[in-house]
Amino acid sequence: MADADQTFEALLDLVRRLPPTRIESNVNTLCDLAPEYADDLLGNVDQPLKLLTDSEKGKEFLGCDYNRDADSYRSPWSNTYIPESSTGPTPSPRLRQLETGLNVAFDTYREMYFEGGVSSVYLWDLEDEAEVGKEMSFAGVVLMKKTLSPSSDDTTSAPVGSWDSLHVFECQERGRSARYKLTSTVMLVMETKTEARAEGKGAEGAEGEGTVTLSGSMTRQNEVDYPLSAAVGHIPNIGRLVEDMEIKMRNLLSSVYFGKTKDVINDLRSQSGLEAKSKEDLLRAELAGRLGGKK
């Protein structure tokens, strides 16, 4: 048996290299290849969130590893597992109260930033028995998902895509403040079409079509201490933490990451031609040389 770390490192390396658009099927493949690392892999690699429906509350919610019990997922709206599960854990009553408040707050956040989509927040206790009044330590995850599907009346040029974000955090209350450790992952896919426009001038009679797919996933971490006067104070604290991180990651993706791929295209191929600058000179020298040489 070779070095276990090496095998796991190889699995993660593949995840970093293979296309983010195929992360789900690739992770399944990797789990089949190395079943002994399946749990570690699923715990370390974020995947697109499952869109589920809580029919009792008539609302959609999101599923991930953190609210899953076997094949059931806990709904943040009804606090029940769907389909029903007797073994799945639920948060302690006072944590559930905070969870309910966070779900309401992030539902507003979702509407303001995503103008659609679905959000869910799940919390879980980090201590077996949290006494009332004692400093709490807990963990949670804030999930956001938005999918742009091609609409039937505008099939030509409307871009399609999806955004999935997971913000996993741990919180430790310390007197009149709390420490939050955050690990955020954004997974993004955007696709649009290229059209006959590409065949425009100079290439009359030509026709063409194609697609452009930009996809990415990135993970960032942050750790902060925020003042905390009351339990309800966790809501604005976690809210600000997640909001700042999402803004930062969105900017990184749009400017740094996508900008970089654009730069690479222009590195690969020179639009104006590598000799464009000196073309006139070359032509002139060429003619002069030729005429001179020919007497």
């Binding site: 070779a2 095998t7 190889a10 390396d13 970093r16 290299r17 296309p19 658009t21 195929r22 690739n26 493949t29 990797l30 290849l33 006072r94 309401v104 707050a105 303001m112 742009l148 871009p159 955004w163 649009t192 290229t194 426009r197 065949e199 290439a203 030509a206 063409g208 079509e209 194609g210 452009v212 797919t213 930009l214 996809s215 990415g216 990135m218 993970t219 009351a230 339990a231 309800v232 809501i235 604005p236 600000r240 803004i247 993706l253 996508f258 690479v264 295209i265 191929r269 639009q271 590598l274 000799e275 464009a276 073309k279 070359l282 032509l283 060429e286 003619l287 030729r290 005429l291 040489g293």
Partner: protein
Amino acid sequence: MSELSVEDKSKLATRLIEQTPPGEINDVVNDIRSIIEDDNALMPHVIPALRDYNLAQLQVVDHQLSESTPAHSSLLSSAAILPGSEAGNERYVDAEGKRSFAFDHVTLTASDYQPYELPEEEETFRAELAKSLAAYTKNHFQSGFSSVTTSQFPLLPPTPPAPAPPLTTTTEPTATEDDPPAEPIITDVIEEKVGTGEVEPSPTPAVDDVVAKKEEVDEEGGLEKVDELVEEAKEEEEREEAGAEIEKEGRPVVEEDTLVAGKEVPVEEPTDVTTNDEVEPEKAVEEVAPAVQVEERKQERVENPIYTLEIVGNKYNPNNFWTGRWRTRWIVDKSAGTVSGDIKVDVHYYEQGNVQLATRHTSSFPVPTESVESQSIASQIVTTISKIETNYHLELNDVYGELGDKAFRALRRALPVTRQKMDWEKVSGYSLGSDLTKARA
């Protein structure tokens, strides 16, 4: 669920290979090897996957300097498979070097070179396309490689080819002028042949050429044309110089070798080949290959061969965590009257993340039917390809704006409509406040 056998795992793992981003095939294969930990079981499955990957990704094959060819490169692709070579013993065509070769898809090395000789008609058109495509590639791709292949069957392998005769045996300066004018003036090729003979190169065409086309500089899309012209003109001049001072130049001699090889064509040409009998081969035949045994094998031939033009531009910068590849494939189908192509761009940026761009674009245009203003059909084809690719390149740059503005905002706004961050204290906090405060107290 029971665990898969090593055999099944190996099969499964190799399916990941085709997804490999540009320039990272070694990393991916080594990762897979670390996971499977059984090279003996794995490699038999990896090799066919690598073969498919190399062909799809237009793997560049470097060919060393040899007696008859300068160092150059060719591209692997499905179009470069030697017609008739069998699966398992697949051979590839190095059309520029007029050779076929076996290829090791793991070590990426070529071996077992054999002569590859096309009928003259196909080789002439192919070579013209190749010359124009190389000029376009050189001008637009910093690290670009191109090759042109045809589906025409090569001539049957000659009997051990006579050692390349010295230059002086080629003394049919007028031969090419008798070429059937089916292909309107292909300046490169004809000039080349004329220039290497004893006849003084006719002085006017090239200059007229350039002057005539210079006027187009101001037109839309004129830049590429000029670029090509400049390129062609330069090469022409080099050749003319070479014709005059042949001993001093290494390269023209090599070209001459390939030309001479071309002259051998009629030797092996079976009677059902109906082209170019004006090439007055008799003398050359006697000199070059006096004792050709007519072989029983039948020369195979397709009536309307297709020509495949391929370009690959690669840039790998693993130190800065990015790699990229631009692939182009254009197929000239004269019988269908179309040139159809696809362009693929793949970029991977993986510094603290994994961001990938994948573009696919197909396009087609009619095959030009006659030379225009002394621009040959081959040259027109490449000019149109150049324009389409440049337009596509422009559109790609625009797409970023569209994706960045429209799509990204439609997914998630940079800021809410209010242009302010959330007021978290206000949002729901106080409505719950009393309860939670009580719970905490």
